[in-house]
């Protein structure tokens, strides 16, 4: 079966970095925004959510890539969802067993990883068409990008909303916490600020490239 030569090439740094920067799931592709807004109220919650999603992403895309020739096209979405749901259940039980406090803080959003469109998107657009190693590397990058994005939002919200970072107080007792940043609207504010920053950085990088070509 003839294939795009690009897809057979071994994974490179670009495959890894793609998800962190150029195709960052939250800041560029705007995928998985529900967990990104809902459980990014503290740095720890954001980090835990990011890592849990990364695990599900890594496990399911690797398995899907492995099975990509065995699953008929007609039932692929159903199969992907079962595979993703299995990994989500595994993560759910594992976090429940590791820390009840964290489990309560993340609430239903662990189970809701199953409908995170970043994961199904990766499975459909990448894992089903690429070799296992390439998929694995790409998923690590995507997971890292997602975790980074959640952590960036979570850190800002925790610092402004609680005056702490990973539970460690940063300011004196006179600090009046900015409660709105812990509430859902605060999530939107912080996300939008990061989006502006990312867009500005990208534009600058593009302009520099153009200048480089011109000279």
């Amino acid at each position: 079966m003839p294939r795009d030569p690009k897809q057979l090439s071994p994974p490179t740094m670009a495959t890894l970095k793609e998800g962190v920067w150029k195709e960052n799931p939250v800041f560029i592709m705007l995928l998985g925004l529900c967990p990104a807004l809902a459980v990014s109220n503290t740095a720890l919650n954001a980090l835990a959510m990011g890592l849990a999603s990364t695990f599900v992403l890594l496990g399911s895309t690797t398995l899907i890539s492995l099975l990509r020739h065995l699953i008929p096209k007609q039932v692929r979405i159903a199969s992907y969802i079962i595979i993703i749901a299995t990994f989500v259940t595994i993560v759910d039980y594992t976090i429940h067993a590791l820390s009840l406090e964290l489990y309560n803080a993340l609430g239903a959003f662990i189970q809701l990883i199953v409908v995170n469109c970043m994961i199904l998107g990766r499975a459909e657009a990448y894992a089903s068409k690429n070799r296992i190693l390439t998929t694995f590397v790409n998923s690590i990058g995507m997971g890292a990008g997602f975790t980074l994005a959640l952590f960036s939002i979570g850190a800002v919200r925790e610092i402004l909303g609680f005056g702490t970072f990973f539970g460690i107080p940063l300011f004196g007792s006179n600090f009046q916490a900015w409660a709105v940043f812990i509430l859902p609207p605060g999530g939107f504010f912080v996300l939008s600020l990061w989006l502006v920053l990312f867009a500005a950085l990208r534009r600058r990088a593009d302009q520099r490239k153009e200048v480089g070509h011109a000279s």
Binding site: I71, K73, I83, Y93, K129, G161
Partner: protein, 260 residues
């Protein structure tokens, strides 16, 4: 992009193959889920038990040993140590084996969802002596002050919960009042900005106390006499002593699982 433009779409596979694929994947999925469920079951139960245990000792200052009871109209029944889920009364004893108080669960509808709390009641003082929130989804920064506000939590260091002469209900209903207007021992000083949540806590305590305390008073003697059957593993900062377990064996109460 990543589309395989050169790939020819294969013929439609037979529905048998489609069904078989889904069935195999679903079966494997079920297998792994059950495997993980079995592997984590014990640990999850332990987590829940430890969480409640910590809460019981938080609301009963001075208690070091916990015994589970199930209390209802039918009577008081002692439960094994791991039957946390079925118990509704957790009696706390100190190192000498005397009853410090009982921890009871209560719940009421708050602003966002049901608030579940655990409170400690000391029968000898006829007062609520401790309070902690087990579960709440109150608004962060406002309603969740019922968990963090020191002034509000001070209400529960000694909140009067005396029964009336007949022992059928509270003599004075516990009630939440506006912030800084508390005048009586049975009033809870509320929180401005968290009115609904603070009132819900008062309602939960009032309803639970009216229901449970009369029952508790009827069975008080059987709560004070049984010696602690088992010690919880010593926690940090909790002095360990070798006496206490054997001296009180003469009361004739069934010790359950102790000393098989």
């Amino acid at each position: 992009m990543n589309t395989e433009s050169t790939t020819v779409m294969p013929d439609m596979p037979s529905s048998g193959r489609l069904i078989a694929t889904l069935a195999v994947i679903a079966m494997l999925s079920g297998f792994f889920v059950v495997l993980v469920y079995q592997a984590t079951l014990e640990r999850i139960a332990l987590n829940h038990r430890e969480y409640l245990e910590r809460a019981v000792f938080t609301v009963l200052p001075g208690a070091t040993v916990r015994v589970n009871f199930s209390l209802s109209e039918a009577g008081l029944q002692r439960l094994p140590d791991d039957a946390v889920g079925d118990a509704n009364v957790f009696a706390g004893y100190n190192d000498d084996g005397t009853l410090v108080g009982v921890a009871l669960q209560a719940s009421a509808r708050g602003y966002a969802d049901v608030i579940r709390i655990l409170y400690g009641y000391a029968p000898d003082r006829e007062a609520i002596v401790g309070f902690t929130v087990l579960q709440s989804s109150e608004t962060p920064g406002l309603g969740d002050k019922i968990e963090t506000d020191p002034a509000f939590l001070r209400n529960f260091e000694n909140l009067q919960a005396r029964l009336n002469e007949e022992g059928t209900a509270l003599e004075n209903d516990i009630v939440t009042v506006k912030q800084s207007t508390k005048t009586e021992d049975w009033q809870i000083d509320g929180i401005t900005g968290a009115t609904v949540s603070a009132v819900a806590v008062g309602r939960a305590l009032r309803e639970s106390a009216n229901e449970m305390l009369p029952l508790l008073a009827a069975h008080r003697s059987s709560l004070t006499t049984p010696p602690p059957a088992s010690r919880t593993p010593p926690k940090e900062g909790c002095p360990k002593d070798g006496v206490g377990d054997d001296e009180t064996d003469t009361d004739g109460i069934n010790h359950g699982s102790e000393n098989p």
